[in-house]
């Protein structure tokens, strides 16, 4: 029997990369796909994926759901369910290339949808909350169906395989986005299934992660109190939900959210001379102690109009940032940045817990 993600836990690195144009200029995925090549040995072929932002301008006001299905019957079932709450403007197979490196693919579709106003009024929910709940419902209750992307004007593409092959498989050279994130997986806790590849997404938030967090269960127990369901036993999923909770539902800024999950040590907070900052950091650690993420991680959070890179507070994983003109590059290794831009400047390694936030100029995306 084939194992499915979430049923097995195997205790055990990864590669991440990202690029963003601050001017909102759209780039094909070619550079980000190539960036993963020198980091090939950081993954083991059991997962690769990309998230592109600004890739569906013609459907920019619609939620783009990307789904994996086990079989046609499951797809029909999910489509019927979607129609109960959404206007489905378009549903289609996500185009792929058949290549020998990627095999055993599920049925892969995308739907451009918008929640029915009547349903929202009836449930007294805002649009995003309704979409998030729908994603959770499908992923937990419909066996054989998995929503792996659910934001507006963005999309995640992931598979079992090496990232450079996954890019070819999904024909990413045919998409253009103002930002891209990428991941090469070396699964450590789970067998490696299509749904478990990164990026993990909810709404427009996507997370690529290199690391192995030790607070998974503490974080999971807390976040599941707020309606999130961790279905895959992988740490990246819980990080994604934590960030959605802190930023979308609690209204924290990106920096504040970073200060929760990679909170400074009490000794470091104690040594702060800025009283306002000291009080704020103390407040955040006190209010959200269960959302402190411990153990090694370097992540890139993608969101509508920007990226945030963050390391764990002990900086147990590598991460390098560089820039050139309007573009900012982030990667596990400098070599990956040099592939995207040989003349990248201001290469630096952010300190542990120090978020690097890059936003596209207002109105440019």
């Amino acid at each position: 029997m084939k194992y499915r993600e979430g049923e097995v836990r195997i205790p055990s690195g990864c590669a991440i990369a990202a690029v963003i144009s601050k001017e909102g200029k759209r780039m094909t995925a070619e550079a980000i796909v190539n960036a993963m090549k020198p980091m090939h040995d950081r993954s083991n072929g059991l997962g690769g994926g990309f998230a592109g932002y600004g890739i569906y301008p013609e459907y920019r006001d619609l939620y783009a759901f990307h789904l994996f299905f086990d079989c046609r019957a499951t797809r029909k079932e999910v489509e019927a369910f979607l129609k109960e709450g959404f206007e489905v403007v378009k549903g289609e197979i996500i185009p792929t290339r058949k290549i020998p490196e990627i095999t055993d693919e599920p049925i892969i579709w995308r739907y451009f949808v918008t929640p029915l106003r009547s349903v929202l009024a009836d449930l007294q929910l805002d649009e995003k909350e309704f979409v998030a709940r729908t994603v959770m419902k499908i992923n937990t209750e419909v066996r054989g169906a998995y929503v792996f992307s659910s934001g507006k004007n963005m999309g995640t593409f992931k598979a079992v395989g090496f990232p450079e092959d996954v890019g070819v498989f999904y024909r990413l050279d045919e998409y253009e986005g103002y930002s891209w994130t990428a991941h090469g997986r070396y699964p450590t806790n789970t067998p490696g299934w299509w749904g478990g590849a990164h990026p993990f997404t909810l709404l427009d938030y996507s997370v690529v992660h290199n690391g192995e967090i030790s607070s998974y269960d503490a974080n999971r127990r807390f976040i599941e109190m707020f309606g999130y369901k961790c279905t895959l036993k992988t740490d990246t999923e819980v990080i994604t939900y934590i960030l959605d909770y802190l930023i979308r539902t609690q209204g924290l800024t990106l920096t504040e959210a970073a200060n929760v999950i990679a909170a400074p040590f009490w000794s470091t907070i104690g040594a702060k001379t800025d009283e306002y900052e000291k009080e704020k950091l103390t407040y955040l650690r006190t209010v959200f102690p269960s959302l402190l993420v411990t153990g090694p991680f370097s992540i890139v959070l993608g969101f509508d109009g920007g990226l945030m890179a963050l390391n764990d507070r002990l900086k147990l994983r590598s991460m390098v940032v560089g820039e050139k003109d309007d573009r900012v590059f982030i990667a596990s290794e400098e070599a990956a940045i040099r592939v995207m831009e040989p003349d990248a400047e201001n290469i630096f390694a952010p300190a542990g817990g120090e978020p690097v936030i890059v936003k596209v100029k207002e109105g440019a995306y």
Binding site: A271, K315, S318, E334, V339, A349, A351
Partner: protein
């Protein structure tokens, strides 16, 4: 001899380096790991960005990098010299047991983690710029010199230097007034003997990277050492 590394994996590069020549230039390097691993008797120049664990287990070779290097430079190196004309990533000199690493610019986190020394094997790391947090974590031997020459507001070393340090010595070109050190180490202003101990390495650094030795030495230096020969005495058993 020049090796064009652009289409080569690390195994092929290291194979080419075993070709019997005394001098090699690896051009177009881009992320290949383990370059020069366990090699001796070679003079190797690297153009581009070498991958992680450059010069791992190095056994006498001389490696010069014309730019930045990534993580774990000189991992467990035994002998030789690695000179980096740029910055290095995290964990430079990881478990190093001999030889010298010169870094023109900054070092990432955990430089000199678990360095060790035995008799005449005394590894040395000279960081010209600033160092990240956890400098000399679990340091058991050897010498770490940080000059802090990078022109920015950052402290010469990040948070938690010397965590778990129980041997060796660290010399920082700073009065260290703004550096919090753990209880098991002692810091004191460097005296003439201490400065004499590092003068040769500083001179070499200045000659290699074109800094003015007199200027560099004309600053307060702080020497940090563990405050007992056996800091963990009776931690678990009487020993």
């Amino acid at each position: 001899m020049t090796i064009d590394a652009r289409e080569m994996g690390y195994k092929e590069i290291n194979e080419a380096l075993r070709g019997g020549e005394k001098e090699y230039t690896v051009a177009g390097c881009l992320g290949q790991r383990f370059i020069g691993a366990e090699m001796g008797g070679l003079d190797l120049t690297i153009e581009g960005v070498p991958g992680n664990a450059l010069g791992a287990y190095l056994n006498g070779a001389k490696i010069t990098v014309r730019g930045n290097a990534q993580d774990a430079v000189g991992d467990t190196m035994n002998d030789g010299v690695i000179t980096v004309h740029g910055n290095v990533g995290d964990a430079a000199g990881y478990a190093m047991r001999g030889g010298v690493i010169f870094v023109k610019g900054d070092a990432g986190y955990r430089a000199g983690i678990h360095m060790k020394a035995y008799r005449d094997k005394v590894p040395v790391i000279v960081i010209g710029g600033k160092a990240g947090s956890f400098l000399g974590e679990y340091q058991a031997g050897g010498v770490i010199v940080v000059l802090g020459l990078t022109d920015n507001d950052r402290r010469i070393v990040g948070n938690f230097p010397c965590t778990g340090m129980h041997g060796g010595m660290m010399i920082l070109r700073s009065d260290c007034a703004d550096i919090a050190l753990p209880d098991q180490v002692t810091a004191k202003a460097a005296d003439a003997d201490d400065l004499e101990n590092i003068r040769g390495y500083v001179a070499e650094y200045c000659a290699e990277f074109g800094a003015d030795e007199a200027n560099v030495m004309d600053a307060p230096f702080t020497v940090i050492t563990p405050n007992t020969g056996n800091p963990y005495k009776r931690l678990y058993v009487a020993n």
